[in-house]
Symmetry: C2
Subunit: 362 residues, 2 copies
């Protein structure tokens, strides 16, 4: 696929700053590829696709909702009406691979249950489409490596849906270590809530791969990794349950500690039983606190110097525009498949530490 | 010792509510024992005694700064002038035991380095004086048990300087579990700061018994214990260092997890390297967040329902009045020697877990 970029970079200047603006500037509407925005197809029309991604795709500047893949004809009809989707851009899971012949679709966004990411990312890559994949990228390091390799072979880009990389509060956390004498010495990150419906796929091991850790804990891992700016060298982890009936297959609650080079550490918590929502980072004498940290909207931040007062943005729109920009620019993203793989390395080490009761090297 | 209480209880009604008021009501001035307030003698005139306790004793209603014990004659002279202390109420460490014959002294407040608590609490008890002892109560479970036994034998009361038991924000944390459907499922508590002078007694094992854990970690243990309202059944703990030169003798940074009956847990952190200062507790669907949590003044709190907006009090004055009231009432305190012992049981388990790399029963 070849793109004609209409002076994208020279017009925007520091492109990343643009993504921090709460409203998308009108002039962005003029960026097209071969005369059009990138066409995104959503694979899996569950809650996140329905309530977050599709509305966000109405606000994006560099991409738009072009197609859908669903196994439910009634859903296809509803979405077709609501978003004026062409019949030729509506697929089901059987004819999905025919997407290879569809020139209006540039990107496949995989929003399926975790266990299906591996298959559909590889099928999308084989169809020659760039891929956005929801987190967790896969169920294992092995799966992630195969997905990266498939995209490399197909010459397409692979991004993981780390929406917070595009949020100004988390961008402030990423920069914080560069603004003083010492790096980040300590990170406390936690994300949890009480999960509802006991029959949902997130509580089934075969579909979710794990429980709170796979869904929410990954945010806390991310928070520590991008705040410290290094990879953990070892982890210790502990598992707990209060509801053995609901959590027969997957983890309910996990605490874990990551040790980074130079003795920098993080202490984290994730749970499907109780609300927890914070990213705290501190240097020798400074700190930054996001509370709540991981919401779609309404993140609040402060530092030792006062309130952060950063704009609230549409994270999903900013994320998809950031990914689209990387495709247009042929540039690298900090939310690439490699990034997704790194989190799975940590998650595997966490599960190993729980099983062995010992410290585990990452 | 026999006290005449002038209608203390009937005048005050719910006495504990009174202690939450930011200003001490004038009528409290009328409470005397045999016509006077309880006389408190400070043993050890370091930073905490000088800058917190002595000023607080100018605001207390039920006790007053009566005497001092110091090994430095110049300090004795300065305090004598500043606080109008009678010569007969000034002792040094050699003649301290003569305090037994001093009827104007009712209470000995031990504010010495940790390793001296055991000796001076027992000497104070043998002199027939009630004892306030700073935290940590002792260096070991054995020391605490001996201190409790000495006070029991002498028929005097023993209190540990847990100032936050008197703070409205922490009283709100203690009550939080009783106000909804479920108990506290999760506590995150952390207290740390970068410690200065590398030559201070707090960095010497023989004087401090331990590092950040003994000094600051104990607040995080307390926070979890009084929020959950139960005793931990087991702990896991991990130790880290960034400065091996400064922390040759004592711990710099520790993370630890406490498991309570019914699967309720806490995850904590303490450090002498970086700022951290929070108590977060959550039930199934509610949370309370104190940030900062452990300051002398300026604690801020919120819950899922909004800001707490509780009054700021003089914690040390409220604490000493609360202890004095227990002496006057002959009632029990939630900051007794038994309470101090419970924290040392946890601390010993934490150090054992670090040494063994395994989960340890408390």
């Amino acid at each position: 696929m070849k793109y004609t970029r209409r002076k994208f970079i020279s017009t925007l200047g520091a492109g990343s700053a643009f993504l921090m603006l709460p409203a998308i500037p009108k002039f962005a509407e003029t960026f097209f590829i071969d005369g059009r925005k990138l066409g995104v197809t959503l694979v899996g029309l569950g809650n996140y696709a329905t309530n977050q991604l599709a509305p966000a795709l109405q606000e994006t500047s560099l991409c738009y909702l072009c197609g859908i893949v669903t196994g439910t004809p009634a859903k296809a009809e509803k979405w077709k009406q609501q978003y004026s989707i062409h019949d030729k851009n509506i697929y089901n899971y059987e004819n999905f691979d025919e997407i290879a012949d569809n020139k209006s679709i540039d990107v496949v966004y995989v929003v399926l249950p975790n266990s299906m990411h591996h298959e559909f990312v590889i099928r999308a890559a084989k169809a020659g489409k760039h891929v956005f994949c929801e987190k967790p990228m896969g169920l294992s390091v092995k799966e992630c490596e195969e997905m990266i390799e498939a995209c490399r072979k197909a010459g397409v880009k692979l991004f993981v849906g780390y929406r917070l990389h595009s949020d100004p509060h988390h961008q402030a956390a990423m920069k914080f270590r560069t603004e003083g004498r010492s790096g980040i010495l300590y990170v406390q990150s936690e994300f949890g809530f009480k999960i509802g419906d006991p029959n949902q796929w997130r509580l089934k091991k075969s579909l979710a791969g794990g429980g709170a850790m796979m869904d929410l804990g990954i945010y806390a891992i991310q928070g520590a990794r991008y705040s410290i700016g290094k990879e953990p060298i070892s982890v210790t982890a502990q598992e707990y349950k209060t509801d053995y009936k609901k959590f027969t297959e997957v983890d309910e609650t996990i605490t874990w500690q990551m040790e980074f080079p130079d003795g920098h550490i993080s202490n984290s918590y994730t749970s499907y039983s109780t609300p927890a929502n914070r990213l705290y980072i501190s240097t020798e004498n400074r700190w930054l606190n996001l509370f709540p940290a991981y919401n779609y909207r309404g993140i609040r931040g402060s530092t030792n110097s006062g309130e952060l007062n950063l704009p609230e943005i549409n994270q999903q729109a900013a994320q998809m525009d950031a990914f689209s920009k990387c495709i247009l620019d042929n540039s690298e993203s900090d939310a690439s498949g490699e990034e997704g793989l790194k989190d799975l390395k940590v998650i595997e080490a966490i599960y190993k530490s729980i099983a062995s009761g010992t410290k585990v090297k990452v």
